[in-house]
């Protein structure tokens, strides 16, 4: 064992010409191994269970459950719904992503006050967010389904085009845009691989693995959170939850991932 490991090391060292590069490649491999080990027993299950209970719970002044909520495939249909979001909803004449639609259903269908609904959009320690729980449950019902986001309605096309502009918008003290980190293939920040979100395969791999349980945070994080925290690191002001900007950007990312098989909630470092 020891000899073969040493040989592998030597071969690697010769092939890459420097011991340093070998050490770097080894770190990457170790991270891959860590990721594999995490796959079993994904704590996202805990959020899924809570989300399912929330989906079925009768709530609000109008005393209805979210099972009457139409995510685009008819009231109460959850199976495969996320793989077609964001989409145009005729009842509001707008394009909505999952969270935007959930806010709509909670306020209009269940009659809950908007302020109460939006009180905790992201979980924080032992305080869980209903949105992250619902996102875990609803997205899990699209596991194995191919992403199929439509662009037939003019407003869907508009959202995509606006999302593209936002993706490439440079600003802030660091001159960063989403594209600064996500428009070239094979790049990383520190040891973190960066998906090229303008490349079909990379975009599919990235989009289909959100939401994800983040081991480093002990939280389940949704696409809405991913965008929020990317903008924080981009040194932008704070992105409003379920805003039109978030929907447009999600539309751009989701559409670029079309054809990819959805595989979340995933688990990430």
């Amino acid at each position: 064992m020891k000899i073969s490991a040493l040989l592998a090391f030597l071969v690697g060292a010769v092939a890459s010409n420097t011991v340093l590069a070998q050490a770097g490649a080894d770190s990457v491999r170790q991270i891959e191994k860590y990721r594999d080990a995490l796959m079993d027993g994904n704590p996202a299950d805990l959020w899924e269970a809570r989300g399912e209970e929330l989906w079925k719970r009768v709530r609000g002044p109008r005393a209805v459950s979210l099972e009457h909520c139409d995510l685009g495939k008819g009231p109460g249909v959850v199976k495969g719904a996320y793989a077609e979001l964001p989409r145009y909803f005729a009842d509001v004449d707008k394009v909505m992503d999952l969270e935007t639609r959930l806010v709509y259903c909670m306020t209009v269908l269940q009659g809950l006050p908007r302020g109460e609904v939006l009180r905790r959009t992201f979980g924080d320690g032992s305080n869980r967010s209903d949105f992250e729980s619902l996102a875990a449950f609803i997205t899990a019902e699209s596991k194995g389904v191919k992403m199929a986001v439509g662009m037939n309605h003019p407003k869907e096309k508009e959202a995509f085009k606006l999302g593209e502009k936002i993706f490439f918008h440079r600003g802030g003290p660091h001159d960063f845009s989403c594209a600064t980190c996500h428009s070239e293939s094979g790049k990383r920040i520190r040891l973190q691989d960066l998906p090229n979100l303008t490349d079909e395969k990379d975009a599919q791999r990235a989009y289909t693995t959100w939401p994800a349980y983040r081991v480093s945070q002990g939280e389940l994080r949704s696409m809405q959170w991913r965008l929020y925290d990317c903008f924080r690191q981009q040194r932008f002001p704070e992105l409003t939850f379920a805003s039109d900007t978030s929907v447009a950007l999600t539309m751009f990312l989701a559409r670029n991932a079309n054809g990819g098989v959805f595989n979340a909630p995933a688990i990430k470092r």
Binding site: P154, H169, R170, G171, H174, D175, T198, R232, D244
Partner: protein, 211 residues
């Protein structure tokens, strides 16, 4: 817009109707850009040190916010950006460009600063390792920018190289339009003293970068 120049009123209406129906199918690029800007203005909230003015763009950022369909910036536009940024380079009044490489290494490691949750009273880091390889003992480095291992060893420490290195850190777009690298001095991310320390990290023969 061209409708306004046509005098025949009934023709105006006809054309307007025609345009309205086709409007849905075709919106110009600049209109999308303006609309996206409007959306962002409404959908971001000022928090901490991050005000809404951060969404605004100077000429370079406006020109460099390009989609793949836009294609790369023209040679003349790139040259104009480089010229404008070069003209605004500000070198230290004391003429000294080399600081302390040890301090430089700390600044290169630190990624704090300018985020809405950062304490603005604390100095910002440069986070060089996020994108570049520098000292060989640091294995956790990114690859968005080129490796800077041996930067000074390869180039020496002549006055010209010191000036270039300071200038590149102060404002990379003085040399490369639309560079991904932040304009650390130009945009007030780092102080002059911090940039000197980074110049030393890159050029000082004693710096681990050149060992």
């Amino acid at each position: 817009m061209k409708i306004m120049s046509i005098s025949n009123k009934s023709l105006d209406v006809l054309l307007a109707v025609g345009l309205l129906t086709s409007c849905v199918a075709f919106v110009s690029d600049s209109e999308y850009r303006a609309q996206a800007m409007k959306l962002m203005g409404a959908d971001f909230k000022a928090r901490g040190q991050a005000g809404l003015d951060r969404l605004n763009q100077d000429e370079a950022n406006a020109a460099c916010s390009r989609t793949p369909a836009d294609g790369p910036l023209s040679k003349s536009a790139s040259a104009a950006i480089e010229k404008a940024n070069f003209a605004r380079l500000k070198y230290p009044a004391d003429g000294k460009l080399l600081g302390d490489w040890r301090e430089g290494e700390r600044i290169a490691q630190s990624g704090v600063g300018k985020q809405f949750n950062d304490d603005p009273s604390r100095p910002a880091g440069a986070n060089c390792y996020a994108c570049h390889q520098l000292a060989p003992k640091e294995l956790s480095f990114g690859t968005i920018g080129p490796s800077l291992l041996g930067f000074g060893k390869l180039r020496g420490t002549s006055r010209a190289i010191q000036e270039y290195t300071f200038g590149k850190l102060y404002n990379p777009q003085a040399y490369t339009a639309c560079s991904n690298m932040p304009r650390f001095g130009h945009n007030g991310i780092l102080t002059e003293a911090q940039i000197k320390d980074l110049v030393a990290l890159l050029l000082d023969p004693e710096s681990p970068v050149n060992k």
